[in-house]
Structures are given as structure tokens and as C-alpha cells.
Amino acid sequence: MGRERGQRGGTGEASVDDDAAACLDELIVESRDLQSDAMRAARASIPDLVEVREARRGQPVDPSEARRFDEGRRALVRRLGLGAGGAAASGILGTTLATLLTRPAAADTPLDVRIMQTASSLEIVAINAYQIALGLPFIANGNPAVKKFAQTTMDQHSQHNKAFQSQARALGGPPQTAANPKYAKRVQQAQPTLKALPDVVELASTLEEVATNTYLSDLAMLTDTKSRSVMGSVMGVESQHLATLRSVGALLRAGKEELVKIPTDAVALPAAVGSVAFPEPFEPTTMASPPDEGAVR
């Protein structure tokens, strides 16, 4: 405290009883001893904490764990009266403590926001990929149905992106305006290899499958129900993009490009076209991107 035992107040009169002063001094000494012990213990545990950090590095945040942590902190805020209107919320210390305790876990950005941001990042990759495809001569001057699909799908992804950005804002977070780094790199690497229509279909199929699987995985992680509805609504359409590309890819591999048209010749379609779009009875999440992959940094 900095005050020597026996110091007087400015009036010169005795302001602290001698016994109380002695007690206070003892408490101060005890406090310093406790702090020294605590600091010693904390320093000793740092190597263990570093080990834990390294072990968990790169692992996705467990959303239920993050949620419980956030709820626990909010409950603590309420119990301590640090919430809005709480008696302890006033003053610098109370305000600071309340702010610290109510800040969400995991990089200070709620999971739902990061999910929306990553979804946006995937949509941006898709938009860019279809834009690249439409610039290729064998697409621009090729099969009209394929060109129409690329144009329509690009537009749909643009609207999906806007929906995810809007939802991120609604949740209090910034929208993502950048492409998903992992898949932007994949597209960039694939670009020189896009020599014919099957190459483009394969790349687009991958991106649509990533989107479908990611959004399916996201559904169970989202706590905001409006966000879940938006995600489900978009996922339903990405599913159909994927289904279409699988069918087109199969026709191309079978040498039946002439059937890639609308309306098609249903009688001439190979039998397997009836099921190639949905190889499994339950959609997996094998290619799902984790929530942080495209989150705003």
C-alpha cells in the first residue's frame, strides 16, 4: 500500500487505531506471501500449459464446450451482479470484469458467426471458380446447357453469399468478404489444368461437395435457429448443384455429352443416371470445412 505504519492523515489526527494498523500490516505481509507462492506455482505450470496448447493446436473448437464455457461465464456475471443493472457493475473494476467475463470464448468471436463467415468464404470460392469456367473457350463457346448451368449456379452462389454475410451481421459479427484460403488455393492450382469440360466438372463437383458437407456439418453446431434455417435452405440448393454435376460428369465419362441438355432425351439416358447423383442413402460430412477455416482473422 505504500504507507508506512503509523503515518497520519493530512489533518495530523490519529485516523487508524494502532491495533487495526498492526492487523492491516500483517494482512499485507500475508498477501504478499500468498502472491509470491501463487506466482511461483503459476510459473511452474507454464511448461504444462504449453504442452496442452501444442497438443490442441489445430484441433477444431468443440462447439458444445465453447457454449458451456460462455454460458458459465454469463452465469457468473449474473451471480456477481456484474450484468446490466447489477450493483457491482458500476465502477471501472466492475465494468472491466463484466466485459472480460461476457466476452465469448474461442478467439472472441461466437461460433455461429465464424460458421457464417466460413460459409461465405466457400461461396466466394465457388463464384470465382464458375467465373473462371465461364472464361474458358470450351465453356463460353461450348455446350449451351453447361454454360447456362455455370451462369445460373454462379448467380445462386452470389445470393447465398449475401445471405450468409447478412446473417453474420445479424449475429453481431463482420461479414466475410474473402475467399476460403484452402479452396482458393485449390482452384488456383487447378486453373492451368482445366483443358476440357470434364476437368471443370470435376473441380466444380469438389467445391459443391465441400459446400454441401460443410453446411450439413454446420447445422448441428449452430445454436441460432434462424442461422440454421438459412444454412439448411442454402444446403438444399448446393445438394442439387452437386447432384447435377455428378450426373453431367457421368454422362461425359460415358461419352454421352449430347445428352447434357435441357430437355434431355430421357429414353437415351443410361440407366445409372437414375442414381449417380446420390450414391449413398445418407449424406456424409467427409469433406466438411471446420468453422474456423474461412473465419475473419
Binding site: T152, G232, G236, A243, S247, R253, S275, V276
Partner: protein, 262 residues
């Protein structure tokens, strides 16, 4: 590879068909019959000129249906090695999932009933195709009907498994109000396109119901299951749109217009 419903895909390359665009063959593990292989004829065979027909049962439609199927026929095909029974069972059963409360149980029940309706609709459709009551049927359509039936059967089984794991009996009936509508459309069907439109309506109903249910579910496993099946049903629709000559992705955002609300 064998699906949970027992359908094994064989004789196909990674594209889902061999280079002659031939009929995929099927093996029903429960029956133990070998893959069916026929010589290519190079053109579609009309329904009625094929091999002997067999009666359909609600389960295992694909296993017996392949013989009577119209279409471009298969070359000699190579079947994939059968999947170990333990792996089949693991994938068929999946992890134990239960409904957390009565509201979720209601969703599970509705889902099971809708899947029952879908599987039953496809079963009857296949019988109609097989009987020739709707005229010539494209091979892709006949194959679609069989696979879609098996997938909806698997979905129904999965939802009923949730019910039994939640200590309730399985349901084996359609939801109220829909069977009459389906039956009316079925009775009026004169061509395969009419049955395809009926199937489209059923798929839209199931898919939209799953989408509508998502916000109300609390169990992560149930959300994942509903979402997973929503995807498949949306993909069924894309194929139906395509064979019907329509653009396969008509909506920017999936809606809930066709959701079943009791």
C-alpha cells in the same frame, strides 16, 4: 459397396456406369444371388419384353427388380467383393440416437411416416412400371425408382430405430391426409412422367419437412440425420427434374412450401 438397405453397386466404374451406359447390376446380400449379367443389345428394351418378372416386396426392391427392369442392358460385369456383414450392420444401425423430448419425438414420428409414404409410393410405382400400366419406361427412370425406394426404406428404418431407442414402437404407416392425395395421383397416372411428377411431389414434401423441422430440433444427432436426408431428397428431385426435361436446380433457396404440417 453395399448401401445400408442392402443394395450393392457392381459392374460400374467410378462414373456409376460402364462405357456402354449399361444397366447397373444388383446383388441382394440377404438373398445371396449372384450379379445379373446380360449381353448388350445396344438399344432400349421396352417393358414387357424382358426377363421374367418377380413380385415386389416393400424391402429389397433393387435385389429382385433388376431382372425385370427395362433399358440398355449390361455387359458382362464384375462385382465388387461383398462387404463384411459386420461393416454392413454397423453402417445400417449407426450410433444410438434418441429423441430428447416429446416435441422431438413428434418430429421423428412424422419423419418415419413420411419415409414410409415415400418408400411405399416408389414400391407401387415400380410395380406399375413392371406391369406395363404406364407404357414404356426409360432405363434411367426404372433404375431411379428402385434406388430411391431402397434409400427411403433405409431412412424409414433409421427413424424407426430412433423411436425404438427412445423406447417407443416403430411406425409403419403414412402420415394422415397424404395417402389419399398420393393414391389419386397414382390412379390417374397413364405415363411414366405422371409417376415421376408424383415422386417429385413426395420428395418435395419430405425435403421441405426436414428443412422446416431443423430449427425446432435440439439433439445434434437428430439435426444431422434430418439434414442428411434433406440433402438426399433434394438430389432425388434434381434427378427427377432432369429426366422430366426441366432445369435441375430451380430455386435459389430451398423453401418449406411443401412441408407436411399434419
Amino acid at each position: 459397396m453395399t448401401t445400408p438397405s442392402g443394395h450393392e453397386r457392381s459392374g460400374m466404374d467410378s462414373s456409376g456406369m460402364d462405357s456402354s451406359g449399361t444397366e447397373p447390376t444388383a446383388k441382394d446380400p440377404s438373398v445371396g444371388r449372384p450379379p445379373i449379367c446380360e449381353q448388350p443389345v445396344g438399344e432400349a428394351r421396352l417393358l414387357g419384353g424382358g426377363a421374367g418378372r418377380t413380385s415386389m416386396t416393400r424391402r429389397g426392391l433393387l435385389g429382385v427388380g433388376a431382372v425385370a427392369t427395362v433399358g440398355l442392358v449390361a455387359t458382362a460385369c464384375a462385382s465388387a467383393p461383398p462387404e463384411p456383414k459386420s461393416e454392413q450392420r454397423n453402417r445400417e444401425i449407426g450410433p444410438k440416437v434418441t429423441a430428447t423430448d416429446e416435441d422431438e419425438l413428434a418430429v421423428v414420428t412424422t419423419a418415419a411416416k413420411l419415409e414410409y409414404l415415400a418408400a411405399d409410393t416408389y414400391r407401387k410405382s415400380h410395380e406399375a412400371l413392371d406391369a406395363g400400366t404406364v407404357g414404356p419406361v426409360p432405363a434411367a427412370v426404372a433404375h431411379y425408382v428402385r434406388v430411391a425406394h431402397d434409400q427411403h426404406q433405409a431412412a424409414e428404418d433409421r427413424w424407426n430405430r430412433v423411436r425404438t431407442d427412445s423406447h417407443h414402437e416403430a411406425v409403419n404407416e403414412p402420415p394422415e391426409g397424404l395417402p389419399d392425395k398420393v393414391e389419386n395421383m397414382f390412379s390417374a397416372a397413364k405415363r411414366w412422367q405422371d409417376l415421376a411428377e408424383l415422386a417429385l411431389l413426395v420428395e418435395q414434401t419430405v425435403a421441405d419437412t426436414y428443412l422446416e423441422a431443423l430449427p425446432s430440433l435440439r439433439s445434434k444427432d437428430l439435426i444431422a440425420l434430418a439434414g442428411s436426408l434433406q440433402v438426399i431428397d433434394q438430389q432425388h428431385q434434381a434427378t427427377l427434374y432432369f429426366v422430366l426435361g426441366r432445369y435441375p436446380v430451380p430455386d435459389v433457396f430451398q423453401q418449406t412450401d411443401y412441408a407436411y404440417r399434419g
